[in-house]
């Protein structure tokens, strides 16, 4: 028997607001903890005023809250030092981290420092008959699904955002928060001199994405896509081709090297459906494709398709959809 026990979810916060991926991790972790009959704990690095209780409501038995203003800046080294020390003291058998940009930058440093393995970007987790964690993840540009086990402790994985639903909120759950001081507060090799407000676009949270690609002839014509998106209460997305052509910023890009989106409705207008594009949107609940080429691969994953010219159809949809 190993001395490692329990599941640890590392919660993420941005500007002292807990990121939703933390609740999704708690949801999956609760299921794993029940089947192993072990405690589920949560480590939160944040500052005064953060709603740490919420993590109890969402299923954490104990919330370890490491409180300091240094955590208001996302910097990997200080986070890593503090988390590694916590893990070495508390010895969880499973550590889960959200595969957000920050999580993906931070987790490998933690795993390397702990001399253990790390499975990136998992889409599912299971427990095998010996009580080990099976980490399931797409690899080879989403072409295969690999089942991975870790021979060392802790078993560590990052989990994709929006892969699991959020844990339900149960206000009857006991509040159990242990406040901690950070172990390390200074790192002089990285200096974050400015944080810039991100572009206001956040296409990953949208319920409708109206996306376009090389079917658009010039930059001004993007307005037609934006108009339709706005009309439907959604946002615009684009294929990489338009980012490469300098027509718009990468914040709008959907795909393997851009944003992964999972809206309720995805409308692809003048997008061929290259594998790298599909990798970012194929899990949308409903896919609608408009393309002048009936053999465009996008049609094979679409629920509804229209073979036609977007310059005709989009203005008609703008007129008719209300």
């Amino acid at each position: 028997m190993s001395e490692y026990k329990g599941i640890l979810v590392i919660a993420e916060q941005n500007n002292n607001v807990i990121h939703k991926v933390s609740y999704e991790l708690l949801n999956k972790a609760k299921e794993l903890a029940q089947s192993l009959n072990i405690p589920l704990n949560c480590l939160l690095l944040g500052n005064d005023g953060i709603n740490a209780k919420e993590l109890n409501y969402r299923g954490a038995d104990t919330v370890f809250f490491m409180k300091s203003e240094i955590f208001l800046v996302a910097e990997e080294y200080l986070y890593k030092q503090n988390i590694v020390n916590f893990i070495n003291e508390n010895k969880p058998e499973i550590v889960l981290i959200g595969a957000t940009n920050f999580g993906r930058s931070l987790a490998p440093r933690i795993a390397a420092a702990l001399e253990t393995g790390l499975t990136a970007d998992c889409t599912n987790l299971k427990i095998d008959e010996d009580g080990h964690l099976i980490q399931i993840r797409p690899a080879f540009s989403d072409n295969i699904l690999a089942y991975i086990k870790t021979a060392h402790y802790p078993q560590m994985a990052t989990i994709r955002y929006k892969e699991f639903s959020e844990a339900e909120r149960d206000l009857n759950r006991e509040i159990n928060i242990v406040e901690l001081q950070p172990y390390f507060c200074n790192y002089d090799k990285t200096n974050i001199i400015k944080t810039l407000n991100d572009s206001d676009v956040n296409i990953t949270e949208a319920e409708i994405v109206v996306a376009t690609g090389r079917g658009i002839k010039k930059k001004e014509d993007l307005r037609m896509i934006e108009t339709l998106a706005q009309k439907l209460g959604g946002v615009m997305g684009v294929s990489r081709a338009l980012v490469d052509a300098g027509m718009t910023s990468s914040a709008y890009q959907v795909g393997y090297s851009g944003n992964r989106v999972k809206p309720k409705i995805y409308i692809a207008c003048g997008i061929s459906g290259a594998p790298q594009h599909l990798a970012g949107m194929k899990e949308s609940e409903l896919i609608i494709a408009i393309n002048s080429d009936p053999s465009a691969p996008i049609f094979s994953i679409a629920d509804y398709g229209y073979v036609g010219d977007i310059y005709e159809i989009i203005p008609n949809l703008i007129r008719d959809l209300d």
Binding site: S105, P138, S257, I265, D303
Partner: protein, 266 residues
Amino acid sequence: MDILVLIKEVPDMQKVKFDSEKGVVNRSSAESEINPFDMNALQTAIDLKRKYNATVTVLTMGPPSAEKSLRDAFARGCDHLVLMTDRKFGGSDTYATAKTLASGIKYLEKYDLIVCGEKSVDGDTAQVGAEVAEFLNIPHSYYVEKINNINELEVEVVVESLSSSKQVRKMKLPALIGVTKNINIPKLPTVNRKLESLEVDVKKISLDDLSEYISEIDTGFKGSPTKVSKIIIPHPLERTSQIFKDDYISFKEAIKKEIKKNNIGM
């Protein structure tokens, strides 16, 4: 200034075949090439070389055939080529790969900035860079979309959307950066460099060379904490497609119904 670029040779993803019966990747089904994301890492280094008169060394760990990708990197404008190759490196997961690469980097000694790609299209983990940084105990930044400036002491970079905001960061050198595809557009090699690349020396490093830094149990399959127990080729999501042509009215009505059903927007 010495810049080190980490590149990986990968199969061409447009052509590679997957054997769904055996659950394996058929590596002979496609030619290998430089990982597309590493093209941007190479271009980053080449641009710095032009601007700051730096020396660019390209390092890869892989089978002997990976020499081809190194020569391609030379043709694009890099100076020195290093191949870490040894049967004992085979079967490395990200942890063992990063540990082995870090040992090779210690062995090479000279580096100020290490540049890697955002991720490899086969491993697809985006972990190797940050793990290398941890093993070397140097700072790192991922998702770098711009290098503002660099001198002997530090580098200033713009980091794309970390924790819902962009950051401008200064890191003391030596440091490691992972760049995104948005940092530049890779240029093609010139004919002259291409010809030269056929003759240029490739330095080889094997496990024996690294005895000071790593032992056999820390590399390859044996040194890998994660093990793949099974591979599945997923079936594409089944969708019952309804494709309209010429019948705009029915198409529009179908969409309208879905929007109403989902009770969103408007």
